[in-house]
Structures are given as structure tokens and as C-alpha cells.
């Protein structure tokens, strides 16, 4: 018992103050929102387009990156001969629609606006979510799990992962939705009593990720259920997921982006 108390004192309090304080530091090499400087593009160069594993980049009519397809692997930045495309360290990426995830030099990601007033009254202080991994590789799942640990402490926002869709207000989905999970995902969604929301976490759940256009998968959650929040990343940093959830619930002061 004494050892336990000694350990408790040693471990201390680790919960971050964010959003009431600054967010935790991210590593220097963290790859967040892309930074596009079109003036640096070499005429006729399509190195970034060719390098991208998931065809997330187009050059015409202007350089655009679809963050819903982006794996944040950085291959485009490595391939770019002129530094026109690099990765910044802004972790704020979540949006309410697929179109809002396509970014250009002029337009950053249109960060998620909050749910309407009625939904905020229902979910703003208590949001119970059922997680469904529909072909996820366990990285997005792990980062969702981490939000429940002491540093992030999702519970302090009234957000909780629950054991059954019957206890839930919505789903938080990972994975491209494999063929073998389509029915289970649909049934789980139907078992949630309305009103309900759906959050898609990670490139796979948004667009299929590396598995885009596979016969074995479905190119993302919104091919099966309606989605209210898209959180890009492969996997998204816990801070990106948390930022998205708090924006959805209208609990973040700054609007960010444009």
C-alpha cells in the first residue's frame, strides 16, 4: 500500500490543461497541415502527383491536396524539387464534409463547425460513442484509446467510449470498411437510437486510405453510413482527433482556418 502511494506521488498529475491552456508540444518533425507555395512550382512538374501513394494531389487548375486521401507520409514533399509543397505542424485538420478537406494555397482545411443547437444541447456535455473498427490497422484505434488515458482524459469533456451501440449517441469509425465488416457496421449504426452522429477517424475511414479502390474495401465509412465529422491522418495525432471532437461539440473558442 505504501509503495502504491509512493508511486502515486511520483507519477503526479499529467492531464493537460488544453483546451483551457496551450496544446501539448508536437515533435519538430510532425507532419500536419500541408503548406503550399505555388510560386515555387516548376512549370509542368508533377513529381508530387506521381509520388503520392493514394492520388491525393492534383496540379490543375491549381495545386490541391485532398486531406481525406492524404496519408501524411511526406513522399510528395521529398519528391518536390523546389519546396513548393511541405508539411507544416498545424494539427487542426478535422472537417464536417469531404469537400472541406481539399486544400489549396488559398484555402486551408475548413475546420469543423459545431453541431446545431439542438444536437449541442443533447451531446454537448455528454457524448457516448461506440467504436467500430471496420478494417482499421489498429493505429487509429490506438490513438482513440489514448484519448481515454490520463494525459488527454476525454472523460473530462463528457465524452466516453461505451460498450454497446444501445448505450451510444453515435459511432466513431476506423478502417476503410472492409467487405467483411459492411454488414456489422450497418447493423451497429442501426442499433444506435436516433438522433445519432458518426465520426470517421483516419484516411481509411474517410476515403479508403492505402486501400482506396480495393474490391475488398468500400472507400470509407460514408459509403455505408452518413458521416458528421472527418478526422484526417494516418493515424491522426490524438490532438487532431480531440480538436475535431471539441469543435463538433462547440467547445473550442478559436475558429481557426478560414
Amino acid at each position: 500500500m505504501i509503495d502504491l502511494l509512493r508511486a502515486r506521488r511520483r507519477q503526479g498529475r499529467r492531464t493537460i490543461a488544453y483546451p483551457d491552456g496551450p496544446p501539448p508540444d508536437l515533435p519538430e518533425r510532425f507532419r500536419g497541415h500541408p503548406v503550399i507555395e505555388g510560386a515555387r512550382c516548376v512549370e509542368g512538374c508533377v513529381e508530387c502527383v506521381t509520388a503520392c501513394p493514394t492520388a491525393a494531389i492534383v496540379r490543375e487548375p491549381e495545386l490541391a491536396v485532398d486531406l481525406g486521401r492524404c496519408l501524411f507520409c511526406g513522399e510528395c514533399a521529398t519528391a518536390c524539387p523546389s519546396g513548393a509543397l511541405t508539411y507544416g505542424r498545424d494539427p487542426r485538420l478535422a472537417a464536417r464534409s469531404r469537400e472541406d478537406l481539399v486544400v489549396t494555397e488559398r484555402e486551408q482545411v475548413r475546420l469543423a463547425r459545431a453541431l446545431d443547437d439542438k444536437a449541442r444541447r443533447l451531446f454537448g456535455r455528454s457524448l457516448k460513442l461506440r467504436q467500430v473498427s471496420a478494417g482499421g490497422c489498429n493505429a487509429c484505434e490506438a490513438e482513440i484509446n489514448v484519448l481515454g488515458t490520463v494525459v488527454w482524459d476525454l472523460g473530462r469533456f463528457g465524452i466516453q467510449i461505451v460498450a454497446s451501440p444501445r448505450h451510444a449517441d453515435g459511432l466513431i469509425i476506423t478502417g476503410p470498411v472492409t467487405e467483411n465488416m459492411r454488414l456489422a457496421l450497418r447493423k451497429t449504426w442501426e442499433a444506435v437510437a436516433p438522433p445519432k452522429i458518426v465520426i470517421a477517424v483516419g484516411a481509411c475511414a474517410i476515403s479508403g486510405g492505402p486501400y482506396v479502390d480495393h474490391d475488398e474495401a468500400s472507400n470509407g465509412a460514408d459509403s455505408v453510413v452518413p458521416v458528421d465529422l472527418y478526422v484526417p491522418g494516418c493515424p491522426p495525432h490524438p490532438l487532431t482527433i480531440l480538436d475535431g471532437l471539441l469543435r463538433l461539440l462547440g467547445r473550442l473558442e478559436d475558429e481557426g482556418g478560414t
Binding site: 518533425r29 501513394p53 467504436q131 478494417g135 487509429c140 472492409t178 467483411n180 490524438p238
Partner: protein, 507 residues
């Protein structure tokens, strides 16, 4: 001359011409397997590759004592192939996979059935018929125990926690489990099919997400195969960085597992602190390459990110702090009577069962098997910086937990040594194109156990076949075995003590 001596030998991270692998008749092929297993060798991989309208079976055997691998092949030119699983449990699941991937029937298999409920890998040109669509997963006839007092419990695919899907069908009598049958395939994404004809711009994304919490393990195995095919060496500094990343991955997952095990027995102090500490190790990996899961780090030729003296020093400080906090959090487990009474003698897998099933990783070591690919098939930095192999012998949840604790401490020692003195030179050298018509193999000790990648190149140096064996492919059978005679309420604890990958199995 024994059939084994006819086989070309190679080491992990090596390649042989496909023409040098003897094409054995079935009788000799079967004899190779029986002889090898009788001598204590293991089946690292057993899979098929399309050859015209036929299927060539490839058997990759591992001799841990001699640190050698041997490969044998045989051609199957019909709709069936003889099963060897009755005498050799290690090939049980491999044979079911061959059957499913190539539309063959394993004659005499003790319990045939789908593995992933997936399409075949290659259209069977000879038959001309389109292969039938696979059945829906979890709809097969499960093994059933008859009796008025017997009840059946089905769990999944969607589980109560934040975890990948699988289906578990229990035959129970009251609280006691008579039998557990595990049905997977829900995570099948078509990785091996998509790797055919590669490498291409998506190949690394597939390899890194095959089992997404083992990115470094699988990416390292892939890199070693590509380097073997290109006949090039990795600079020491690159090998060291890859080894460091592999051990950081092991640390993050082992610490997380011990926390989760504590959570499963309601010991909240360790559960709570390990949850945080896992993140500290993930953040160390992110310092190195920008990704907590090591995406983008391991690349053919070495490591795509380097750590200068200043970064290495900072990482070392954080490693020491995390390691000290881990000791404080984890040692409480062994002193807590409530934890130990749940852990000890729960989910026991005896040594002889572990041998028979061909288990790998901490689960195997917990049952007394002295096997670890970092020592037995050392490649890269592990040749010059060996890590002592952890061992236990009770084979229960406690042993599987304690082996992880030993490995945590040894991985910290290894990481500390490397961060203090990374070898000089480049982190990565350029890599030539792959040699055509080769077979290359690599074994990497991922945190769950031995990962095996096998690549066959065609006349253009492209992948004619790419086989990924995640350690979970060997070990899921152990969970089914361990649950026999246990209380069903101990299932989450047993499951967590193995912590196997669903997507690594399903691919």
C-alpha cells in the same frame, strides 16, 4: 542423403535464385517437412504461388540453432493437395490459407474452412470458371458441444472496447469454457493481392499498415527483403536507427499491454500510468520520424530519418525518465495479491503445446521456448548488439506479462546504448533494382513475435508473389487452446495476455 540436405540454405535477409530451389515430388516434399519438424525446425512460412494454371507450394523452414533457413517447393497441378496438418499442427492454418488463396482443397485436413472469407489470389486459368464469391464471415458451422446443459456464447465482430473485430464462439458449461473457436477475416483488405507486380508507390503504405501497430517490424522485414533482392548492405547507422525504432515500438506496446492487463483485473494504478507511459514511447518514435507509429522511417537502404547528437541526447533523457516511471508503475503488479491471483495459473499453455503449435514471440517464451529472431536469425544491428532472450516457464497470463516486463528492461538497455553512441556514417544508402527470378526471406522479431516476409521476383524483378506472415498467424491457435477449461470471465484477460493482431492475420 536426407531430403533436407538437398535444399539450398540461406539466412534471414538473404536471397536465392528460384532455379536453385529443388522442385520436389510430393513424397519428398512431405518427407522434408516431417524430418525438419522432428529435428526441431519450425515452419516460418508455407504458401502457394501461381505458376501458369498450377500452384507451386513453397515451404520455408527455420533452423533456429544453426540460424539457417531452408526452402523447398512442390508443384500442385490439380484441384487438391494432400494435407500434412494431421501430423504437423504448425501447417494447419497455412494449409487452410493455401486452399482459400488458390482455390484448392486440402485433402485429409482435420478441420478445413475459410481463413479470411476472401477471394482467391489468382484466377484459376485452367478451370476457366470465375471463383465463387466467398461466404460471409462467421457463418460457418462452428464446432459444437452437444448437451442439455451446454450453452453457446458468441462475441463479436464488434467488441465492447476499442479493438479490431473478430468472432469468438464459446461452448460453455456454466462458467467453464469447453471449447473456443475463433473466426477472423473481418479485417481483410487484400494486402497480398495488391502487392503483386510491385513494388510501386503504394507498396510501403501496404507494408506499414499490414499490422498498423507493428509498422517498424513489417517495414523492416520488407526493407530486408528488398535489400536482399538488390544485393546491397545497409550502412551501420541506418541499421542502428531501424533497430532503435523496432525496440521503441516494442517498448510502447509492451508497456501498453501491461497497462491493459492491469485494467482487465481492475488494478487501476498500473493501468492508468502505463496508459500515459505508452504515449511517451510513441512520442520518442515521433521525435525521430514525425510519426508516433514510425511511418516513413524504415526504407530500403536504411532509415529515412537521422538523429544528430543533440536529438539523440534529448531522446536519451526522455527514455531514462520514461523507464524509471515504468519501473514505478509496473513493479506494483507483482506485489499485488489481487493481480497475481488473477494472473497466475490462468490461460496456461504448456511447453509441449507451444512447440506443437509453433508459437512465436513473448507467448512462446512464456511457455519456456527459447526462441527470438533477434538472436536466432540476427540481422542488422542485432548482429553486433545482441539482446538477451527473456524466458519464463509457467505459460500462464503471469508468465506472458512477466516476459514483457523483462523485455521492456532489456529494450531500454539496448536503446540507451545506441542513443549514447550511434555508429558513424550515412543513415541510408541508395538501393539497386531487384534481381529477377529470386526468392528472398527475412525474419524480424516484432513485438508480438516473428514476422516473416518472403518475396519471389519474376523475370523483370517485380513481385510475382509477396507473402507476409504476421506472428499472430502462428499464435491465434494458442488463445483457443488456452481458454479450454478456463472461466469465460477470464477471456478478456487471456485475450489481452496474447494481444494478437486481427489485421495482421487478415491482411
Amino acid at each position: 542423403m536426407t531430403p533436407l540436405s538437398r535444399l539450398p540454405s540461406l539466412r534471414s535477409g538473404g536471397a536465392v535464385p528460384r532455379s536453385a530451389i529443388p522442385d520436389l515430388g510430393w513424397a519428398d516434399f512431405a518427407r522434408v517437412l516431417h524430418t525438419a519438424v522432428a529435428q526441431g525446425w519450425r515452419v516460418a512460412a508455407y504458401f502457394g504461388a501461381a505458376e501458369g494454371s498450377a500452384v507451386r507450394l513453397h515451404l520455408v523452414l527455420a533452423d533456429d540453432d544453426a540460424s539457417e533457413l531452408a526452402v523447398a517447393t512442390t508443384l500442385i497441378d490439380g484441384a487438391t493437395f494432400p494435407s500434412l496438418a494431421g501430423d504437423c499442427a504448425q501447417v494447419d492454418l497455412f494449409e487452410r490459407e493455401i486452399a482459400e488463396q488458390h482455390g484448392l482443397s486440402p485433402a485429409g485436413h482435420p478441420r478445413p474452412g475459410p481463413v479470411r472469407f476472401s477471394r482467391t489470389l489468382d484466377p484459376r486459368a485452367a478451370s476457366g470458371a470465375t471463383p465463387p464469391a466467398p461466404d460471409a464471415p462467421g457463418t460457418q458451422d462452428f464446432y459444437t458441444v452437444a448437451g442439455e446443459e451446454v450453452h453457446e456464447v458468441g462475441v463479436g465482430p464488434v467488441h465492447a472496447g476499442v479493438i479490431e473485430p473478430g468472432h469468438f464462439r464459446f461452448q460453455c458449461h456454466g462458467e467453464e469454457v469447453f471449447h473456443l473457436e475463433i473466426s477472423l477475416g473481418y479485417q481483410h483488405r487484400g494486402v497480398e493481392r495488391a502487392l503483386l507486380g510491385g513494388p510501386d508507390r503504394r507498396t510501403l503504405a501496404y507494408v506499414e499498415t499490414a499490422a498498423g501497430d507493428t509498422t517498424i517490424g513489417h517495414a523492416t522485414a520488407y526493407c530486408e527483403v528488398v535489400e536482399a533482392l538488390a544485393r546491397c548492405r545497409v550502412p551501420s547507422r541506418g541499421a542502428a536507427l531501424r533497430g532503435l525504432a523496432l525496440e521503441l515500438e516494442r517498448l510502447a506496446n509492451h508497456v501498453g499491454d501491461l497497462g491493459a492487463l492491469a485494467g482487465d483485473v481492475a488494478f487501476l494504478p498500473t493501468a492508468s500510468w502505463c496508459g500515459r507511459l505508452r504515449g511517451d514511447f510513441l512520442n520518442l518514435t515521433a521525435e525521430l520520424c514525425g510519426s508516433r507509429f514510425g511511418r516513413g522511417l524504415a526504407r530500403p537502404g536504411g532509415a529515412a530519418f537521422d538523429a544528430d547528437g543533440e536529438l539523440a541526447a534529448r531522446m536519451l533523457d526522455r527514455l531514462e525518465a520514461a523507464a524509471a516511471d515504468c519501473r514505478s508503475a509496473i513493479e506494483l503488479l507483482w506485489d499485488s495479491a489481487s493481480v497475481m491471483s488473477r494472473f497466475e495459473r490462468t490461460g496456461t499453455v504448456p511447453r509441449e503445446v507451444a512447440v506443437e503449435l509453433g508459437l512465436v514471440g513473448p507467448a512462446a517464451r512464456a511457455s519456456g521456448l527459447d526462441r527470438d529472431a533477434r538472436r536466432d536469425h540476427a540481422n542488422g544491428i542485432f548482429r553486433s548488439h545482441p539482446i538477451p532472450v527473456a524466458a519464463a516457464d509457467s505459460g500462464d497470463v503471469h508468465a506472458r506479462a512477466y516476459v514483457r516486463w523483462i523485455e521492456i528492461q532489456r529494450s531500454v538497455d539496448f536503446a540507451r546504448e545506441l542513443l549514447r553512441a550511434l555508429p558513424h556514417g550515412a543513415a541510408r544508402d541508395p538501393v539497386r533494382d531487384a534481381t529477377p527470378d529470386r526468392l528472398a526471406v527475412s525474419l524480424v522479431e516484432g513485438w508480438r513475435g516473428e514476422i516473416c516476409h518472403v518475396a519471389l521476383t519474376d523475370g523483370d524483378g517485380r513481385f510475382a508473389r509477396y507473402k507476409i506472415v504476421d506472428p499472430s498467424f502462428h499464435n491465434w491457435s494458442a488463445l483457443a487452446w488456452a481458454m479450454r477449461g478456463q472461466q469465460i470471465s477470464d477471456f478478456p484477460l487471456c485475450n489481452k495476455s496474447f494481444n494478437l493482431s486481427y489485421c495482421g492475420h487478415d491482411l
